[in-house]
């Protein structure tokens, strides 16, 4: 007798809504309100004393790993980083509480975006039980208060479909371009240099970098078209895209170094797969 496995993916998704995606008013509104959700200042200079840029990168990398391992929706990680930056821009925070803050931000972003959100207990385990669920719930209130309960922030992901449908692209490559663009967005969220950029610019730059990376572009006309779609200045967009590509090269190098170190110390292949950069990045051909 054969055994049948009837389990299916529990995540049921709504179909893309043409009313939302094929209406320019939506894009226009997103562009109008996105600035409201940017962090108020470059906080390492003026607010934080204990926290340094490399610590943000550490906590961001950890958050990305947790989101990937828990198979969170793509938006959860950038949204959580938006909460983190907005909180750090107004509240001086101790280094030893930064991971708790990261966990709280993932907790909130996951609840906002996911059908089955991350649980407090699970997140605490991911901090190696250095925080308690009770503390996570308490600080959730603090973070919510500081964010003024404004959780539905605009993220670069909100722009991706709007941009893609306006660029002439081969249909069979669309999935790949979208995936690469999403990876770039996650990469940008780990890097503080992008924290003050409007999400539309990051989205446009990421799509641009994805198309160029796959060698599907035809020169300058692409950048001009992209810039027009999101009303971004062409030079800013070029700079942003170059920056994204530089970050990619950097993180690829890091991965390579890690691989070398690991092979030098004869680690197993399993551990290679958990390198601290988005795994997809390595699949991109430059």
């Amino acid at each position: 007798m054969e055994l049948l496995c009837c389990e299916v993916d529990p995540m049921r998704r709504a179909l893309p809504d043409p009313n939302l995606l094929y209406d320019d008013r939506v894009l226009h509104n997103l562009l109008t309100i996105e600035e409201r959700y940017l962090p108020q200042c470059s906080y390492f200079k003026c607010v934080q004393k204990d926290i340094q840029p490399f610590m943000r990168r550490m906590v961001a990398t950890w958050m990305l790993e947790v989101c990937e391992e828990q198979k969170c929706e793509e938006e959860v990680f950038p949204l959580a980083m938006n909460y983190l930056d907005r909180f750090l821009a107004v509240v001086p925070t101790r280094k030893c509480h930064l991971q708790l803050l990261g966990a709280v931000c993932m907790f909130l972003a996951s609840k906002l975006k996911e059908t089955i959100p991350l649980t407090a207990e699970k997140l605490c385990i991911y901090t190696d039980n250095s925080i308690k669920p009770q503390e996570l719930l308490e600080w959730e209130l603090v973070v919510l208060g500081k964010l003024k309960w404004n959780l539905a922030a605009v993220t670069p992901h909100d722009f991706i479909e709007h941009i893609l449908r306006k660029v002439p692209l081969p249909k069979d490559k669309l999935l790949l371009i979208r995936k690469h663009a999403q990876t770039f967005i996650a990469l940008c969220a780990t890097d503080f240099n992008f924290a003050m950029y409007p999400p539309s610019m990051i989205a446009t730059g990421s799509v641009g970098a994805a198309i160029c990376g796959l060698q599907l572009d035809d020169g300058d006309s692409l950048t001009d078209l992209l810039a027009k779609i999101t009303n971004t200045d062409v030079d800013c967009l070029k700079a942003c895209q170059e920056q994204i590509e530089a970050v990619l090269v950097n993180s690829l190098q890091q991965v390579r170094q890690q691989q070398q170190q690991q092979s030098n110390s004869s680690k197993t292949v399993d551990e290679l797969d958990q390198a601290s950069t988005p795994t997809d990045v390595r699949d991109i051909n430059l």
């Binding site: 993916d9 529990p10 995540m11 610590m55 550490m58 906590v59 950890w62 790993e65 947790v66 391992e69 828990q70 198979k71 509240v91 101790r94 280094k95 030893c96 509480h97 930064l98 991971q99 708790l100 909130l108 609840k111 906002l112 089955i116 959100p117 991350l118 649980t119 407090a120 207990e121 699970k122 385990i125 991911y126 901090t127 190696d128 250095s130 925080i131 308690k132 669920p133 009770q134 503390e135 719930l137 308490e138 600080w139 959730e140 209130l141 603090v142 919510l144 208060g145 500081k146 003024k148 309960w149 404004n150 551990e271 958990q274």
Partner: protein, 217 residues
């Protein structure tokens, strides 16, 4: 009798438990005035929790661990993973608790200033909002019905009175509770006062205030 009840209420700190509803019916003296204010900013409404804040999750439901669905979440169990790590060394839990209390107190004070209302003692203060206590006698006679109205003296913001504060949670009160429950709290313009039937949210906000209250004489 009152003390143990309060205690049991406090221990039920997650979400709204049926106990709360019962407490309104059996201990009407417990419920004190719930003030609701129209929300001029539209984004930050002062539904004030308590000095010892209830760890309400955003959704207002019990933590997802109690939901069977969460078991089916994709992904591996975290404990064996490399992602499971402590980044910045040991956490000072006492310091954390102290910081938390400071921050919550600070938020409470900011809200007090913004709404010229002391949310701990539930008393209006001097300021741009005029707070009025309103008594209504349309419900069963042995019980007092209090309505509170906040009016902004100078402008026309009262149309915002109907905005629903974001922290309100719906759907935890059974129909008979809402019928039997005696307390009615409202805020807003005259229009909302005319509306005789209260909404679930009104009951909820009233009950939320019972839990943090200190034992009363």
């Amino acid at each position: 009798m009152l003390q143990p009840l309060l205690k049991s209420l406090k221990s039920e700190s997650r979400g709204v438990s049926p106990l709360w509803a019962a407490s309104v019916q059996t201990q009407p003296s417990l419920s004190h005035l719930g003030y609701r204010v129209p929300c001029p900013g539209g984004q930050h409404c002062p539904v004030f929790a308590p000095v010892t804040p209830t760890p309400v999750t955003l959704s207002g439901f019990p933590p997802a661990t109690t939901m069977p669905l969460s078991q089916s979440r994709a992904g591996q169990s975290p404990c064996s993973s490399k992602a499971c790590r402590n980044l910045f060394g040991p956490v000072d839990h006492e310091q954390l608790q102290q910081d938390f209390e400071d921050k919550i107190r600070q938020q409470l004070e900011e809200a007090q200033q913004r709404w010229n209302f002391n949310f701990e003692t539930e008393t209006p203060l001097e300021g741009p909002f005029k707070w009025e206590r309103i008594l209504v006698a349309e419900q069963p006679p042995q019980e007092v019905h209090s309505l509170v109205r906040a009016v902004i003296s100078s402008d026309s913001r009262s149309s915002l009175a109907h905005r629903v504060p974001p922290k309100d949670h719906v759907g935890r009160i059974s129909p008979e509770e809402s019928q039997q429950s005696s307390k009615v709290y409202k805020a807003g313009s005259l229009q909302s006062l005319k509306r005789g039937q209260t909404t679930i949210k009104d009951f909820y906000s009233a009950k939320r205030r019972i839990v943090p209250a200190q034992p009363r004489p």
